[in-house]
């Protein structure tokens, strides 16, 4: 595995191993173990840097190779800059957190696992050369930062902040994914380096602009650009070390990284640089303005981050005005702006990390972050003050700190823009906004340092407030030192770190940092800076006087409010929409189905065209048949008008019997037999169960509902008829059934073709059919036997209604006649049922019908003699009988395995049997016997279950 992958996987593996590792050393703060992660990373990247000869390092590991999606990593100058930031600041943050988080009170294991995940994800983003992989890590940063922000998950504010960050950045991420995919389609590759190579060809693609827009959405949301900045202030709910990390080296920097990374690809595209610059400047001024009014230390820092990120974004935008090889006279301005952006990015990482850490120290020591309750801490914690002063001054752009240098470069680029804009108003705006924002920046930097440490002490907690432990102090100290060093000796990092990064953005850029120095004469930039200090100082001094004014300026719409309203509106709208069509009622559901059916069919028919109804070639109609159809239709139409349950059941039953009649008319004896029995059983069942129900209430349904039902029903019926006629008129092919008629006897040994189809040609259907029936019977049994709510009391009330009548009101009538007759016809029916079973292969009948006949004989006996007598006479469990039946059918099928034949293969031959005579003996009959037993068992199970439930 290449070192690059090892480095990338390291934090993930460490995160996964952390729970086990920390269990090995239970008394050790898990942070010490976690610290190994960033330190190793730092060492690794430094080693790669010294080993490398400046050329980008590439390595690939397969993930989904057949999709061309692999873990393609590429370490160039830009990636190296970020990688070092991530691991370097990561190490400091981990160190800091070891002293910030109490091992005994906090879930430090989870904290470091998430932090390492975050680190790894961020590393992945900057190392990926494949857009899809980049997207993956991008989302992972969202997820891991979500987990970190919600670290104190009992607090509602943490949860809100975490969710907000996840939503905003997740949304951007998805947009970005779409953009990447469009880019991939346009450029036929998803590798960044390859896409950059074909940038010119890409420029012609119509997909480029939408792709770019979508990617910009990703950039802006991630780097908290206006108006997507709203998640960042709420993210301060995270533990302070996380904030420090998130604001200085990770998460928000991912957006900047992506913008920088894609600069070579999109440079020169107006949408790209235009929106980056405009949004960046807007964010810059908005953030700095808002930072002033914050009273929470961390909130102030959060808005300052927003503002600083806007600055860098704007610089990247200005840095991508001119594509590589542009002939413009101002082409050099581009590289200069990019260089400024990179420098400020580095500066910001240093001072913002330090600031957050000091804010954390203050919070840790005083127990509050409220600027109104803070002050005068300089006496108790001078070192901390020194650190925060240095960082604040760097943020304010005061020499000799690093911030001064990048601020100067920024003003330079702003002025360059003005120059390149050749006097246009928009171009004038750039330096104007830059200057205004810088003044505000000066003010809030001052507020941070002065309000916290200067002035009189507000809280009387002196006894508790003191300089923190070295562990808390060291990391910000290092960062403050770095901020100072960046100003005093930029050459330490510029050629080795910044210039290669710049080359990733502008491959042909000249050495941009060579002349970097604190003093290079009186330049317009310097004058602007001086004016910033003057005005800013004034504002800071006068702050108490104009601060109330600030408070009265209420923005007409707050972005957070809009976010809240959007979410609430989304919820409310969804609720309304869902409630509008979902009422959980069966009627609605059914109505939708048939409405859809009718509508779909009608629209489909209208769209399809070319449909005709041909009436010729249809079978002739005799008088009786005509009357029968009309009677059927009349009976059908009468059903809805039935006033009582019984009437409705009887009418429906009548329709069923008329269907039997049609089966007879159309030469389907087996069907008629089956339908006859089934209909009788159903009607009997219906009547028995619903006889005692209260009278059917007149449907209390509005006429409109009824009308709607009628319309839907009519349309559905009409549609079915029309489709039938259309299909009948448009027969494309003849049926395959000639085969069955020709071969039923020769190949399958049966003359009843329907039966042969059922038990042989399509025996599989029948097998599953009895399974269905079996399941139904077991389900019915279970339903009846299970205890249901509401029934329990009835059981307790002693006698049931029928018993009551039996005992108190009625002497039992004499059953002698029925019993005598039953004894006689029992044999008749049983014989007939077996005849139906065995003759079914050649005559109408078969297992199903035979079984129903047997069952009816048993039912007759149960009626005449009572269930108990039947149980005594036939002591079998009918559920077992049906199980045996299914088994028999299955075994008949499986038997063919033994002969290497396909499942359900049947054999038949002619045999002279002692009892049954000359028979075409087909194993299909065995199968039918299985059907028979199953159906007997099932029917009796159902009947006994229902019968006994009474």
């Amino acid at each position: 595995m290449p070192l690059l992958h090892v480095l990338l996987l390291l934090p993930f593996l460490l995160a996964a191993a952390l729970p086990w590792l920390s269990r090995l050393a239970p008394r050790l703060h898990a942070g010490w173990i976690a610290l190994a992660g960033p330190l190793l990373l730092l060492a690794g990247f430094l080693r790669l840097r010294t080993a490398g000869d400046g050329a980008p390092l590439s390595a690939s590991m397969p993930w989904m190779p057949s999709l061309g999606v692999n873990l393609e990593l590429r370490l160039d100058g830009l990636a190296m800059l970020f990688a070092l930031l991530i691991s370097g600041i990561g190490a400091l943050v981990v160190l800091y957190s070891i002293f910030y988080l109490d091992r005994r009170r906090e879930a430090v294991g989870r904290f470091y696992a998430c932090l390492l995940l975050f680190m790894g994800a961020m590393l992945g983003v900057v190392l990926s050369d494949h857009l899809i992989v980049l997207y993956g890590f991008w989302e992972l940063t969202s997820v891991s930062s979500f987990l970190l922000i919600a670290f104190w998950h009992r607090r509602q504010a943490s949860l809100d902040g975490a969710l907000k960050s996840l939503l905003v950045t997740g949304m951007g991420g998805l947009a970005m994914l779409a953009g990447f995919l469009l880019l991939g389609i346009a450029g036929d590759s998803l590798r960044v380096s390859e896409l950059i190579g074909s940038a010119e060809a890409l420029a012609a693609s119509p997909l480029l602009l939408p792709a770019m827009g979508l990617i910009l959405l990703g950039v802006f949301t991630k780097s908290a650009q206006f108006p997507f900045h709203i998640w960042l202030p709420d993210a301060m709910e995270a533990p302070t070390p996380v904030s420090a990390y998130l604001h200085s080296a990770t998460m928000v920097k991912a957006g900047l990284y992506l913008a920088a990374r894609l600069t070579p690809l999109f440079a020169g595209q107006q949408l790209w640089y235009g929106s980056l610059t405009a949004v960046g400047l807007a964010t810059l001024v908005y953030g700095s303005f808002r930072a002033i009014k914050q009273t929470d230390l961390k909130a102030l820092l959060a808005y300052s981050t927003i503002s600083q990120l806007g600055l860098v974004t704007a610089l990247i935008g200005l840095g991508s005005v001119y594509p590589a090889g542009s002939a413009s006279p101002y082409a050099a301005y581009g590289a200069a702006a990019a260089a400024a952006g990179l420098l400020h990015l580095l500066n910001h990482a240093a001072f913002k990390g330090a600031l957050f850490m000091t804010a954390g120290i203050v919070d840790h020591e005083t127990g509050t972050r409220d600027l109104r309750r803070l002050g005068g801490l300089i006496r108790f914690m001078p070192v901390t003050f020194a650190v925060s002063l240095a960082a604040s001054l760097s943020m304010a752009g005061v020499p000799p700190l690093g911030g001064f240098l990048s601020k100067e470069l920024f003003f330079g680029s702003a002025l360059n823009a003005y120059r390149a804009g050749e006097g246009s108003l928009a171009a004038l705006l750039v330096p104007a906004v830059a200057w205004t924002a810088s003044a505000f920046t000066f003010v809030y930097s001052g507020i941070f340092a002065w309000r916290t440490f200067g002035g009189p002490a507000r809280e009387t907690r002196e006894a508790a407030v003191h300089e923190p432990s070295w562990g808390l102090l060291a990391p910000p100290l290092v960062l403050a030192a770095a901020a100072l060093l960046l100003g005093l000796a930029p050459a330490l990092v510029a050629p080795g770190l910044l210039q290669p990064a710049l080359l990733s953005m502008h491959p042909a850029a000249p050495d941009a940092y060579g002349e970097l120095a604190l003093w290079h004469g009186v330049t317009p930039e310097l004058l602007l800076t001086a004016a910033v200090f003057a005005v800013g100082g004034l504002l800071l001094y006068a702050a108490p006087r104009w601060a109330p004014l600030h408070r009265t300026i209420r923005l007409p719409l707050s972005w957070n409010g809009m976010y809240e309203r959007l979410l609430r509106g989304l919820d409310a709208g969804s609720e309304k929409l869902t409630a509008a069509y979902m009422d959980g009622g069966m009627r609605r559901s059914a109505g939708y189905i048939f409405l859809a059916l009718a509508a779909f069919l009608i629209v489909a028919a209208a769209m399809a065209g070319d449909i005709s109804v041909v009436l010729s070639g249809m079978a002739p109609v005799t008088l009786f048949e005509g009357i029968a159809v009309l009677a059927l239709i009349a009976a059908t139409l009468a059903v809805p008008f039935a006033q009582s349950r019984m009437m409705a059941i009887i009418l429906t039953g009548t329709v069923g019997y008329m269907v039997v009649l049609f089966f007879v008319l159309f030469r389907a004896p087996d069907l008629a037999l089956t339908q006859m029995i089934v209909e009788t059983v159903s009607v009997t069942l219906f009547l028995l169960c619903f006889y005692h129900l209260p009278a059917l209430k007149r449907e209390r349904v509005a006429r409109r509902t009824k009308l709607a039902s009628g319309l839907i029903a009519g349309a559905a019926g009409l549609a079915m008829t029309l489709v039938a006629l259309g299909a009948l008129s448009d027969r494309k092919f003849g049926s395959i059934s000639d085969f069955y008629l020709r071969n039923s006897y020769e190949l399958a040994g049966g003359k009843n073709v329907v039966n042969v189809i059922l038990v042989d040609f399509r025996g599989f259907d029948t097998m599953l059919e009895i399974v269905v029936l079996g399941i139904a019977s077991y389900a019915i049994y279970a339903i009846i036997r299970l205890k249901w709510p509401g029934e329990a009391e009835e059981e307790g009330s002693g006698l049931r209604e029928s018993e009551f009548r039996l005992v108190y009101e009625d002497a039992r009538s004499n059953d002698v006649i029925l019993q005598t007759l039953a004894k006689v016809i029992l044999f008749l029916i049983l014989t007939f049922s077996l005849y139906l079973l065995f003759a079914g292969h050649h005559q109408p009948g078969g297992g199903f019908i035979g079984a129903l006949m047997t069952a009816s004989a048993l039912v007759l006996m149960s009626i005449a003699f009572g269930v108990r007598t039947i149980r005594k006479a036939l002591p079998v469990d009918f559920r077992i009988v049906s199980a045996c039946g299914i088994s028999l059918a299955l075994l008949t099928g499986i038997g063919s395995f033994a002969f290497g034949k396909p499942f359900l293969s049947h054999a038949f031959g002619y045999a002279q049997l002692p009892f049954f005579g000359q028979n075409e003996l087909a194993t299909a009959v065995l199968f039918d016997l299985g059907v028979y037993f199953t159906v007997v068992g099932i029917t009796m199970t159902i009947i006994l279950a229902i019968g006994r439930d009474k």
């Binding site: 005799t622 008088l623 009786f624 009357i627 029968a628 009677a631 019984m646 009437m647 009887i650 009418l651 009548t654 019997y657 039997v660 009649l661 007879v664 008319l665 030469r667 004896p669 008629a672 037999l673 006859m676 029995i677 009788t680 009607v683 009997t684 009547l687 028995l688 006889y691 209604e801 029928s802 009548r805 039996l806 009625d810 039992r812 009538s813 029925l818 016809i825 029916i829 007939f832 139906l836 005559q843 109408p844 009948g845 019908i849 006949m853 009816s856 039912v859 007759l860 149960s862 009626i863 005449a864 009572g866 269930v867 108990r868 007598t869 009947i943 006994l944 019968g947 006994r948 009474k950």
Partner: protein, 91 residues
């Protein structure tokens, strides 16, 4: 001629069924309906015999028997049910 006579029989039987339907729907007592239903069963059985004659086939004779059996058991069950409130008693 034969067909005509048989068709006529069918129409008559159909009319008889219609008559029974009247009683079936009108009631007033459940026993009335059961009686009507039983009669319909018998008429249906007769009709099917006539159908068989018309189509010149014996394949429907099974149905005749089945209807006979089924309609008897149905009637018995109903009568038992309205009389005792249960079809099959556990005793």
């Amino acid at each position: 001629m034969v067909d005509l006579l048989l068709q006529a029989s069918l129409v008559l039987l159909m009319l008889s069924i219609a008559g029974c339907m009247y009683r079936l729907l009108k009631g007033p007592s459940v026993s009335d309906r059961i009686a009507a239903l039983d009669t319909i069963g018998i008429l249906l059985l007769s009709m099917i015999a006539v159908f068989g004659m018309l189509q010149g086939t014996t394949v429907y004779f099974d149905i005749i028997l089945v209807i006979g059996i089924v309609s008897f058991i149905g009637t018995t069950a109903f009568a038992r049910y309205i009389e005792r409130g249960a079809v099959m008693e556990d005793e």
